[in-house]
């Protein structure tokens, strides 16, 4: 049996992670003769945070596991899991990191610079609508570190200040009641909430969507919701900055129904992770963090924005 480089993701029900899986499988097919293999797993649902911890433990307990890369849906909980398991093999994070104070528990983080990503989402919104207004952010699991960092970057960009936990008019931006919305990565739920918030706040000027769920998980209702606003979006009177470039997202950008997308490279994460883990096993120096790039898409750049 081969030595396993294990990737544990937040949940199998999010297609973002399938792209990671495909990267992982590509590595396997290119390294068929290697003594290592990439093994991808995770709980069935992103909301099953304890389930992810159990899988991490199972994998740490397996003798064939020689390194592990985790995307924690609840950073604190996975930190605690690693702490108690006290693994002797290298542990890294992927896509989502542990909280800053727990950084010592993992060797490195491979993935998006989430703070920067959020900041870029905010930058686009601010650039389009400098005077600001009422906005709402759409988030995933309340405990997901990557999403929280994006939200922080987004707020910092809009407010021009650092570390605010809620926008109350700073830089002209205000988060309305009922926000942020935590969707647990469920697209339909996200659009439904956005619909209601828009109805309740006719003077809303924008959404900051910290994960692409509503766009890739429920593209049609998303379109239905924002088609009437297409002109305002084109005129920068309504601004939407969204994460990811999965599924229909780029098409939606091309239709002009989102001001800007800031996408990640999950395939690259999955493809690179085994190499990074092998380096860690071999004791080679590895940077911390290892950032994968961002792909930024607007209506005009939609055809070319994705790095192949």
């Amino acid at each position: 049996q081969k030595k396993q480089l294990v990737i544990v993701v937040k949940g199998l029900d999010n297609p973002f992670f399938e792209a990671i899986n495909q990267g992982c499988q590509k590595w396997n097919s290119e390294n068929a003769s290697s003594e290592y293999e990439c093994f991808y797993t995770g709980p069935a649902s992103t909301s099953d945070e304890a389930g992810e911890a159990q899988i991490v433990q199972d994998m740490l307990g397996k003798p064939s596991t020689v390194a592990i890369a985790i995307s924690p849906s609840n950073a604190k909980l996975i930190a605690q899991t690693i702490k108690t398991a006290a693994p002797t093999i290298p542990v890294m994070t992927l896509d989502a990191d542990l909280a800053k104070e727990d950084a010592a528990l993992r060797k490195t983080y491979l993935g998006t610079d989430n703070y920067l990503m959020g900041k870029r989402i905010g930058d686009y919104m601010k650039e389009a609508l400098p005077k600001g207004g009422k906005v709402c952010s759409i988030q995933g699991n309340p405990g997901a570190d990557n999403i929280l960092r994006r939200a922080q970057g987004w707020r910092d960009s809009l407010s021009g200040q650092e570390g605010l936990t809620e926008l109350k008019g700073e830089g002209g931006w205000t988060e309305v009641a009922g926000c942020p919305v935590f969707t647990n990565d469920d697209g339909a739920k996200g659009v439904q909430a956005m619909t209601d918030i828009l109805a309740a706040n006719p003077d809303l000027v924008g959404f900051g969507i910290m994960g692409g769920w509503p766009l890739f998980g429920a593209p049609q209702p998303y379109r239905d919701l924002f088609k009437p606003l297409a002109e305002k979006i084109a005129a920068n009177e309504f601004v939407i900055g969204a994460a990811d470039t999965i599924g229909e997202e780029v098409a939606i950008a091309k239709e002009g129904l989102v001001t800007a997308l800031v996408g990640q490279r999950p395939f690259e994460m999955g493809y690179k992770a085994p190499t990074v883990m092998i380096d860690l096993i071999g004791g080679k120096p590895v940077e911390d963090p290892v950032f994968t790039g961002l792909d930024e898409c607007t209506k005009d750049t939609a055809d070319t924005c994705i790095q192949k």
Binding site: G11, L12, D13, N14, P15, E18, N21, A44, S45, T46, A177, G178, V181, D185, D186, G187, A188, Q192, A193, T195, D196, I197, A199, A200, P202, F216, G217, A218, P219, Q220, P221, R223, D224, I246, G247, E248
Partner: protein
């Protein structure tokens, strides 16, 4: 006793039509729905807009359609926990088939066939082998979602081949007086279900099985085939909801319909279906689903923190049954 009295007695109905209606949970939940709508129209500008009503009615449909099938199951005294997963699997089958280049008819046929096979599997275990419905459909809840992951390789499916646009307009369009298509399907399905329950032998048997399965067997009601049919209808309703929802969402992920079973059961129960069997209506299923959606929508519109949503919906579930309890209580003690 004089013959005339006997004649009179036999000709009488115990309850007038009105007292029957006033005594029904469905009626009072309906009143609650109407009252909520009136209140919301005044309390918030956003409620009575055509856009919001369009959204509300459309959001209701998915739960309502499955609640129609679930109501049949509940009337026979059963339960079907697998509907959320079956919806997901049927959507995936549709999506994967169409993505592979087949037309929408093939996709829908494959999807419906999947639903019927699953329903038949549940039904046969329950009716012929005597498995408890809760256990069988709980197992199927796990199995069907897992098969959906396998079928799609867990990717998001959002390109539906040559008939892509047709599928999307089927689920997302509004072909008739600006009413969302799903709403039309829901109304048609509710009319059919209502008709079947009230006017056909099959419907009568569904009630009889729930009332006293043993008696139904003894009097020659084909209990087992009907139970199988009922679980097939339930799975079918989930499949149909899945097809429509796919057309509406324009993308399928494997978390589609997660946890939906409890919402659907809640809708049926709020609408007056009795989990002990023998009682339930198509109208009730719709009204129950409507109440849940209106609560959800109104909390958003009223600016009430989304965290409180569950408290309101949970309380509604309990309160809906309270009325029925008070009535029973009065009668007995």
């Amino acid at each position: 006793m004089a013959i005339s009295t006997l004649d009179q007695t036999i000709g009488q109905k115990q309850q007038s039509w009105l007292s029957g209606v006033l005594g029904s949970q469905t009626f009072w939940v309906f009143i609650a729905v109407v009252a909520a709508c009136i209140f919301l129209s005044f309390a918030t500008d956003a409620f009575a807009t055509s856009k919001n009503l369009y959204n509300i009615t459309r959001n209701v449909t998915f739960v309502a359609i499955i609640a129609l099938g679930m109501t049949l199951v509940i009337i026979t005294g059963g339960i079907d926990l697998s509907v959320g997963s079956v919806l997901c699997l049927c959507s995936m089958v549709l999506g994967v088939t169409m993505h592979a280049g087949y037309g929408i008819e093939v996709g829908i046929a494959a999807s419906i066939a999947t639903a019927l096979i699953i329903g038949a599997f549940n039904g046969v275990l329950i009716a012929y082998l005597g498995f408890p419905p809760f256990v069988v459909t709980l197992g199927m809840l796990s199995v069907a979602r897992s098969l959906a992951m396998v079928a799609s390789n867990n990717t998001v499916v959002f390109q539906f081949g040559p008939d892509h646009d047709l599928l999307l307009s089927l689920g997302g369009g509004a072909w008739f007086f600006g009413i969302a298509n799903p709403v039309l399907y829901m109304i048609v399905l509710a009319l059919i279900t209502g008709f079947v329950l009230r006017w056909t032998r099959f419907g009568r048997y569904v009630y009889a099985i729930g009332g006293n399965e043993h008696a139904a067997t003894l009097t020659g009601v084909p209990v087992k085939p009907i139970k199988v049919a009922v679980y097939m209808i339930s799975a079918l309703s989930a499949g149909i909801a899945g097809i429509i929802q796919t057309g509406w969402l324009g993308a399928i992920t494997t978390n589609l319909g997660a946890g939906l079973e409890l919402q659907v059961i809640a809708a049926a129960v709020i609408g007056g279906a009795n989990l002990a069997g023998g009682i339930g209506t198509a109208t009730g299923a719709l009204i129950g689903a409507a109440l849940i959606e209106i609560i959800r929508n109104s909390l958003g519109l009223l600016g009430i923190n989304a965290f409180w949503q569950g408290t309101f919906i949970g309380s509604a579930i309990i309160l809906a049954v309270l009325f029925e309890r008070i009535r029973n209580f009065r009668q007995s003690e």
